[in-house]
Symmetry: C2
Subunit: 202 residues, 2 copies
């Protein structure tokens, strides 16, 4: 049986979403057409609006529909002198949800990956270098992913900051809170040992 | 951090899809905005087109953008005298993919469920009764789901067909091909025994 062209196209288009395979896409398409037609139109409108309006923050490069994002627009945060470097807007959201950090961000929208032809300018390091020269940044906190590419990118940015004599730190790697040692991988456990902290009994 | 309204609305709208929770919706939204803007617009267009164009087949009630679906339009199938009753268009697709069945379908778009206020007319049984009276149907094959509601619906339709003196059959329940007896549930195994077939050695 050939499904009608409009249904086939909808299933194909849904497969572009991450984590959606042929069976899920088919289930989603049928659910929309059988029970959620209004929801389908709402999703279509939301997609069009987001794709058309959302761009990058002029200051930190995160996704936003304003020229400057909600975080960069807060003078309190820009005055903090802290600049956290992350790979994606989702990382910003994850850090914001902790509530621990009150500084600014710079979003690379990726990481250095010479094999894929992604060099420093592709992840905005020219903009970052300018910002480090011109703004009174006191500490650069490197929060790129703990992967080979993330580490290389962190090293490259640490070098940039070092040339401007700006203090640089890397977020701690170690055993996740609530995790059990038995199930933690060797590299993480190694980091947990080399990054151990003295317990001050005073 | 508050995400910009367009991104928030996109995440909310994506959560309407079956199987998509808050984390998946967020990941989908960021993926579309970071890397798949064209795909996002394509999905929006496909959703709008499908919701606006796709309706129900006049004959069998499945989802289609034509007045009569691709299966009902084939004279060979209508002449077969076989009518398979299923709950959803996805069931039609699943049966078609087996390649075993060459008759027509009738899609209930649900099942009888008195507690939810779903009676015979809500699942098109008035249309089915008319079809059984007026068309030369030789066998009604009941392929509703093997759930309490599906069985009740099958029983109701068997009664309808019986009044028109039309032969009625229920698809076989038993051990799935490739399955192991050890992992098959009791009800299925019970069906497998009561529906056992004599092996003809001739």
């Amino acid at each position: 049986m050939r499904l009608s062209p409009a249904i086939t196209e909808l299933i194909q288009a849904l497969r572009l979403l991450p984590g959606v395979g042929p069976k899920s896409a088919q289930r989603m398409a049928f659910q929309i057409l059988e029970r959620q037609r209004e929801g389908g139109l709402r999703l279509a409108a939301a997609l069009t609006e987001a794709v058309e309006k959302v761009g990058h923050c002029e200051v930190c490069r995160t996704l936003t529909e304003d020229a400057v994002c909600g975080i960069c627009a807060q003078p309190k945060r820009r005055d903090s002198g802290l600049l956290c470097i992350v790979e994606t807007p989702a990382d910003v959201l994850a850090i914001e949800q902790t509530g621990y950090y009150q500084g600014c961000y710079f979003v690379l929208m990726g990481h250095l990956s010479p094999l894929d032809g992604i060099g420093p300018d592709d992840i905005g390091l020219d903009i970052l270098a300018k910002r480090l020269r011109e703004e009174p940044v006191q500490e650069v906190i490197l929060a790129t992913n703990p992967t080979v590419e993330g580490e290389a990118t962190a090293h490259f940015i640490a070098d940039l900051a070092h040339r401007q004599r700006i203090a640089t730190s890397r977020i701690a790697h170690g055993v996740p809170v609530g995790g059990e040692l038995e199930y933690v991988d060797q590299a993480t456990l190694g980091h947990a040992f080399s990054g151990r902290k003295v317990i001050d009994m005073n």
